[in-house]
Symmetry: D2
């Protein structure tokens, strides 16, 4: 298997430096392989919503970020890759605790990439949400442009 | 038409006091009618992602919040209403500017509520994202429990 | 407003001649405007599933066809337009009766078209399902190829 | 592991006798385990749509049926289980050939069941579509009602 086109450290740096809204969640990238990314969001009190569970948008932001990492692991740091659709099903109300997301590629096409992300919560790592996500890829030549 | 079961001011207070992750976005509720909510997220630099567009999670968080408001406008401030699924299609890359979301109910059932949210951006209010979202409603009697 | 790039009669002929699985449903195209299509599926006993309601796949096939018509109404009879994703929420169990679908475009881009379809049932035309659907469009030059 | 609450033969009989639109596709159930179903649709010329690929609705009907089987494998032949939402991403244009679907449960709750279905095509069994699907489960007591 080829190496991933981006490392965990590079992906985490991108999150912190260039995607503030993701960086603000304190995402920790735990592993990157070609077509697969694992990331964690350490628990914070301000993630909780009425009912005592972690807010859905935290899980959506984590899943979207992980899928972005999955794409970058295959095509390199192409900043212009953008989400075109995301579908999330919430399985359980996540109790306060770390969120762990496992993302993997389903199909890498020329123009679209499709992947899925499973989000787990707590020490027992219950599945709390499942996401499918589609990214649009920029035309190949753009990756050769200066500064990208 | 009946009045909404929650006012714009009450919904905004809920966002700020009890859903920190939504409150942190600075959401402003502009209108609440029974089964319909309009809300705005004033632009902030930290919403921008690589490519110079507003990050998808900001739009997802806004849409999820607006749909929550749509549900509360019909059933009152039932804290236990939770998102069960959300599907978002991104139409255009939103240029830096305010986000405006219009949410409306498609079906209010006994156990599930389904609605849609259109997200617009900028002065010309281009449609940048479209969301369908399902909320699970708690059994009716729970709304009578103390403290809820 | 420009005229639609395909007529109701042309769209219905396409369904019957070239998309057998859609034609087998007996779809009747009632109206075509640029970016909007209305179609009906007259009731048949073999659409019913356990519980006495119309089977979900009938509604999905109708919605997918209507969205295809919406795309063709804007770009002409481009056979290579294909569905890339479809999301459906079922609102009510449709009692035996005709199905009526209203489709409209949300965004026509260069490579992707996004639209929504509402499916109604029976004399009171209750909303029974809501669909969002994305089509991939072939590169423009292909529409000039012989035979397409 | 417990046995499945329905056998492959029982599921196939249900499709043929009680869900005509699914039975008409000629679905063959290949395996049923608790929370997992494999089914095949042998190729037929009338599944093809313009462009020479198998029509999306065939894949949607297959996936919906397989997910229904996944639910029945866990809760028994509960006729009133109905789809509440379905999301499908199409990966490749399936060339003419058999369709094979693998469905599995993601979460079985009291009121909702969520699962995913992967659809493969041809001798090389390329992944052509990925589906997530939610079923609403009837209240438990109804399964004891006469005739159900």
């Amino acid at each position: 298997m080829d190496d991933a086109r981006i490392t965990a450290a590079e992906l985490m740096a991108l999150a912190r430096d260039e995607v503030p809204i993701a960086g603000q969640l304190g995402i920790v990238v735990e592993a990157v392989e070609p077509g697969a990314v694992i990331a964690r969001v350490p628990y914070r009190d301000d993630f909780v919503r009425p009912g005592g569970t972690i807010a859905g948008p935290v899980m959506m932001a984590l899943a979207d970020f992980v899928m972005w990492g999955v794409v970058l692991s295959l095509v390199g740091p192409v900043h212009l890759a953008v989400t075109t659709s995301l579908n999330i099903n919430f399985m359980r109300r996540p109790l306060p605790g770390d969120l762990l997301a496992h993302g993997s590629i389903l199909k890498l096409g020329k123009r679209l990439a499709v992947g899925e992300v499973s989000v787990y919560c707590g020490e027992e790592e219950d599945l709390v949400a499942h996401v499918t996500c589609t990214y649009a890829l920029p035309p190949p030549r753009r990756t050769d442009e200066p500064g990208i």
